[in-house]
């Protein structure tokens, strides 16, 4: 162990590693580095090297650890014996048990565990190389890994420490500063700045703590931006790839129904829709608010996302019932994707029955919106006639229109007697459903944009029109369902991209 350097902060205000008091160490993040884990992340922060794997939601063992009303979250912080100067004894130490506990609690406010009763969500942290601030680094990495695993979260957690070195309050201590500094104060917070982890040791006055908290907020904001950028990079699909995806999926037929839709990261969809919008200026301008937003706010910035988060959190409780339905459908979908088509049909018939039963109550309201939505759809389909690169659509479009008509008819029948099945149509229309899905994705992207514009009516309409498609065919509804969830705040980043990831991989 080296002796204490004479000064940890030079006279010109630079620290030993050349940083200023309010700067964090350079951070590098990689996502999806482990193939067997549901989500993973490798993070380097200064000389820290952290690897995180997330498993689950999966059955909780032992059974007595299960919770009837929510998932159990398990967090295991483990230091590799070679990660520190003097070999650490392998296995849990009192320190690592404590860190595991407070880190788990740091995530409990954001993980939507109530969506997965009786399951466990395991977060395994391996500290490969330690250089002060491993718990904060591990939390930052876990946040990404959870997003990668598609665990629904209300937002990302970011973590950063401040400390006191040579009497000065500085951000993100390195090893020397941690060893010889006077205080260490790790904090983890949500995107809205709510504190989910606080620990402290050392000697600080209340004024110093206030000053340090300001630094931490700045640090966490920077880290959040890094985390978001990394997630975008992984889950965004470049714009020019979208037509390829569409044609590819069409050729391959019905086997990968959901893949194209879910591969489209929401931001990309927005951009694509924006391009279309320019061509289709006439139609769009009928609704000036939409056009305004499309031209001004293509990529929402950090603060807007925060606002959306708050809105989302409020909405979540209202929409909870619907989410449960989606959850159920989601599971069904994954099973189905692996099964033979015949089985698939049989199952989706059952699903349809269930859906219809559930939806019947809401149907009266929805019928009002049906017409509106269908008109809109037709408008959109029509608008593609002009665009040269979408010739494939033209062929199908005609069929689609018939489809829509026949569906309307069928729906009426269904409403009369629940037992009637549109199974024949389902098989024959798989291809079309897919394409139609594309169309709708783009349509939704626009609605999505309007959502951001704080218009109250638009999101409602979107929700309703989707609820309507749920009835039309189960399969389509399932493909649709990630889109619905995409429409708001942090889920854009968190839930869907990973859906895309896992589904894409598994289906292939």
């Amino acid at each position: 162990m080296s002796d204490k350097p004479e000064k940890l902060i030079a006279d010109d205000g630079l620290r030993l590693d050349g940083r200023r008091a309010d700067e964090i160490r350079p951070m590098k993040i990689e996502i999806g580095v482990l193939s067997r884990a549901d989500g993973s992340c490798y993070l380097e922060w200064g000389r820290n090297k952290i690897l995180v794997g997330v498993f689950g939601p999966r059955e909780a063992h032992p059974r007595r650890s299960q919770r009837a009303d929510s998932a159990v979250i398990r967090y295991r912080y483990n230091m590799a014996s070679f990660s520190v100067e003097d070999r650490a004894r392998p296995g849990p130490s009192r320190r690592s048990i404590e860190i595991s506990k407070v880190s788990r609690e740091a995530f409990e406010p954001v993980i939507m565990a109530e969506m997965f009763p009786k399951t466990a969500i395991d977060i395994f942290v391996e500290v490969l190389q330690a250089d002060a601030g491993t718990r904060t680094a591990a939390i930052n990495a876990s946040s990404i890994a959870l997003a990668d695993a598609g665990i629904p979260m209300k937002g990302l957690i970011t973590s950063c420490a401040f400390g006191k070195v040579d009497g000065q309050i500085v951000l993100d201590l390195n090893k020397e500063e941690d060893n010889y500094g006077e205080a260490d104060f790790p904090v983890a917070m949500t995107q809205d700045g709510e504190i989910t982890l606080v620990q402290m040791d050392g000697h600080l006055t209340p004024e110093e703590i206030k000053k340090g908290m300001e630094l931490v907020k700045k640090g966490c904001k920077e880290i959040l931006e890094i985390q978001q950028a990394v997630l975008r990079k992984k889950f965004e699909t470049p714009v020019d790839e979208i037509p390829e995806v569409a044609t590819g999926a069409e050729k391959e037929g019905g086997k990968e129904e959901a893949v194209p839709a879910s591969e489209l990261a929401p931001e990309v969809v927005v951009e694509e829709a924006f391009e279309e919008a320019e061509e289709l200026g006439a139609e769009i301008s009928e609704e000036p608010s939409e056009a305004d937003i499309l031209s001004s706010e293509v990529v929402p910035d950090f603060e807007e996302e925060l606002e959306e988060d708050i809105e989302l959190e409020e909405d979540i409780e209202e929409e909870f019932e619907t989410e449960e339905e989606f959850e159920a459908e989601e599971e069904e979908f994954e099973e189905e994707a692996l099964e033979e088509e015949a089985e698939f049909e049989a199952e989706s018939e059952e699903d349809l029955e269930e859906d219809l039963e559930e939806d019947l109550g809401e149907e009266l309201e929805e019928e009002e919106f049906e017409e509106e939505a269908l008109e809109e759809e037709a408008e959109f389909e029509a608008s593609f006639e002009g665009t040269p690169e979408l010739k494939e659509f033209e062929e199908i479009e005609a069929r689609l229109e018939k489809e829509t008509a026949s569906r309307e008819a069928e729906e009426e029948i269904e409403l009369g007697s629940e037992t009637e099945e549109p199974s024949e149509e389902e098989t024959s229309s798989e291809e079309e459903a897919e394409v139609e899905e594309e169309v709708e994705v783009e349509e939704e992207a626009e609605v999505e944009e309007t959502t951001a514009s704080e218009e109250a009516i638009e999101p409602e309409r979107e929700a309703e029109s989707e609820a309507e498609t749920t009835e039309v065919s189960t399969e389509e509804a399932e493909a649709e369902e990630p889109e619905e969830e995409k429409s708001e705040g942090p889920w854009k980043v968190v839930k869907d991209p990973s859906e895309a990831g896992t589904r894409g991989e598994k289906d292939e």
């Binding site: 162990m1 003097d86 009192r94 320190r95 048990i97 404590e98 595991s100 506990k101 407070v102 609690e105 409990e108 406010p109 205080a183 104060f185 917070m189 949500t190 700045g193 709510e194 504190i195 989910t196 982890l197 606080v198 620990q199 402290m200 040791d201 050392g202 000697h203 600080l204 006055t205 209340p206 703590i209 206030k210 908290m213 907020k217």
Partner: protein, 263 residues
Amino acid sequence: MSEIIATLKKDYIYSLMVKEKRQDGRGFKEFRDLKLETNVISKAEGSAKVTLGNTQVLVGVKLQTGTPFPDSQDEGVIITNLELNPIASPEFEPGPPREEAIEMARVVDRGIRESGAIDIKKLCITVGESVWIVFIDIHILNDDGNIIDASCLAAIAALMTTVVPNEQQGLGENVPLAMKEMPVGITLAKIGSKLMVDPSLDEEAVCETKLTIVSSSDGSVAGMQKMGPAPLTEAELFEAIDLAIEKATEIRELYLEGLAKSE
């Protein structure tokens, strides 16, 4: 540790909270009856028992000689252990310490260590070879809430009455353990939007999160730990720090300064 609590009781505590009241009639800044006894175990080098309402905590301090850590060759060693004895609650089971026990022990330990309560340089017998190791063993005898504050107080009181057994090792006369600081830990429970000191067992069970703040006599903070799943706002954090420092000063004056003088 969170005992199953009836929804009715939870609603009751919350409805009281809205009216600025507590189950046992205390104010939000009011402790339960606190009693401190020292030198309760003559075999130990130092000991203290704290009774806080019905919560009872006993701390014994033992000193042994041993080798120092390689990175602090001229310093004594402090080892803090907390046992959630099965005698204290039907919730506690025998066996290896659970994470709550480890966490609380480490919070108490950090408070004592980081505030510089013990002059560990004076515990050095031969540099690099032999130092005194101070074992602080915390026994929870009855858990009726807020065992951590009781443990912090009992631990510092026990240390203040500890005698270094030099005679036993042939190192001259026995001397009192050199103390420099009197850290006091105060735990605040967040129930709804309110922070209250000294949570009872029921309040602990329904509270969203707890925050323990250990502060020194100069009004600085030596240790802090948030325990529990719910988040805190920054304003709540600062409010908690001010409240904890205020209460810690009160308790230090009432219970510990008398001990310091009697030595």
